[in-house]
Symmetry: C2
Subunit: 331 residues, 2 copies
Amino acid sequence: MTTIRSVAEEAGVSIASVSRVINGLAARGDTEERVWKAIKALDYQPNSAARALKVRRSEQICLSFDDLANPAYTMMTRGVGQALSASEYRLVLASAFSSVEEIIKHLKTMGRGFADGLIISPIYGDVRITKLLSNLQIPVVVIGTLPEGINADNVWVDSSAGVEAAIVHLKHVGRKKIAFLNGPLSTNPGRRRLAAFHNALASNNLQSLSENVFQADAFSPDSAYQTISSSKNLSTFDSIICANDQLAAGLMKYCSQNQIEIPSDLAVIGIDNTDLSSLLRPTLTTIDLHAEERGALAAQLMLQRLADPTRPIQKIVVEPTLVIRESTEEK
Amino acid sequence: MTTIRSVAEEAGVSIASVSRVINGLAARGDTEERVWKAIKALDYQPNSAARALKVRRSEQICLSFDDLANPAYTMMTRGVGQALSASEYRLVLASAFSSVEEIIKHLKTMGRGFADGLIISPIYGDVRITKLLSNLQIPVVVIGTLPEGINADNVWVDSSAGVEAAIVHLKHVGRKKIAFLNGPLSTNPGRRRLAAFHNALASNNLQSLSENVFQADAFSPDSAYQTISSSKNLSTFDSIICANDQLAAGLMKYCSQNQIEIPSDLAVIGIDNTDLSSLLRPTLTTIDLHAEERGALAAQLMLQRLADPTRPIQKIVVEPTLVIRESTEEK
DNA sequence: TCTTTAACTGTAAACGTTTACCGTGCCGAA
DNA sequence: TTCGGCACGGTAAACGTTTACAGTTAAAGA
């Protein structure tokens, strides 16, 4: 194994000098030259564990979320990655595929100097997660609703404003019988978006029909498809808002198999403005929650926090945008 | 900061005993008890950098690929994650969004004890990548075509057999004028799949029409859409094979906007069998390359290699499967 | 030429673990 | 009662860096 010691010998200097050259501190021209030459010759790579131990920083920022399969998180990851790429920090992803246990497992290793900062988008309200988060010794940036009792930098999107805009739009194109296709109520987005739906109906003086909420058990197309298949009252409605684009896609699959025309029989709105929304047929009206932008903002908050741990806690609010496509065209 | 030293003091034992208890080595009942009590009381978390430095293992396996936005990699990641979840290794993702520079940057940190093993699915043939890979001191498992000169465990899928099956199928449903919509030729899949297309045409005695290859500059829907929009001879063909589902989706978007009926005017086949393929309308016939399974196999190879570094190099070959859906129904 | 100062460089002590080695105390056998 | 053996526990030396501090050299001013 080639260590800093072997480089020092090869170059005929002390290990301190090697370290200084590597880290760009002052050195005489010829010292510097000999050190670089030795490094090249030996193909030396500094050991990051040793460095991390000494400087008490891993130079890693961890991004943690619950469902890699959800394209919204892919977009978010891209935002974080780009914001971090110019920094000295490396991005590592710790994604669970929707298992609270896995998240907890990851969070536990977090406190061990594995990462210098954690950007997390927790969709479950599990108290164990909250507890672990609040015990963490490293800065945390939360994307999404801040769990009760956590005091951390936060990027938040007002999804209820998005749902409100969607309902205003539906009303405007002449729809009155609006349903909601939700993801699991065990998640924050599930609870918040459902509440937003009810509020928006009320504030727009729209009648809340009975059984107007379809409840899927995951934010996935399959789950939407099954939920809708096993319900009998879809035809009661002239429009439906889905808690994300994936659910909308599953619903649309069902519709196309059952001769329900979109938008004439049923107008459909999704959430997230993922790639899917312009690939589906008809194209999908959707509420853009700006996942990529939120990721980038979170990364910036993290970098600032890392640079100045004493700065006051920040909260950034992002406004959603309604993107209108074919699935809500007027009849 | 609470270290093993503070735990030792709190428990009234030596740091060696604390370490032994944590690592499950022999200790008297009361020692063990006092140590765990102290750990609980101080909320102690062992520092992983220190441990990594000492035991020369990071207990991390890194999965690296080129394009998180490509759902095929999401599936692959799920496979790796599941295969690893029972092991002592943590999975970290280092994904670049299709930039060779970023991959190189990541690869360089790899040799520093950042990870104990690297599972990589390199789509670019860049020599710098090959060189870095061959210099790596840790085990490497390659998913995909093994770069020239690299000797590593390998999971390989015979995509040309898939393309062959696709062409046989098209012929069977009465198509003779077959085109190919390819991704960038700078990538391994791009080159291999194109070659497979030409071979399969020949071996099936099908005429190779002029300009029968449409060349997109990324494996994305947008890129497909643009490529097709700016070409004038799509109507020459009665069927088209796309180098992945994303490209097929972009093509189908173009078709639906330009009154080209699928499958009657044009039969379409994708590659990967991603979620998209059953959500599109019509649903998409596609070549399943079993990304999730390949991920799991690669992880198993890695675990075996890590357990026994001297075992012979393995190569696992996965056979593709043609999944037939609406986009290639007979006219 | 001699002193003062600045610019580098080397020595050695950390960082928080693991683990080889040795010492202690206990038990059972002679 | 003495001794051998065994099971634990403690001491201290690593692991590969960074960095405070002191020492050395060279340059500049007198």
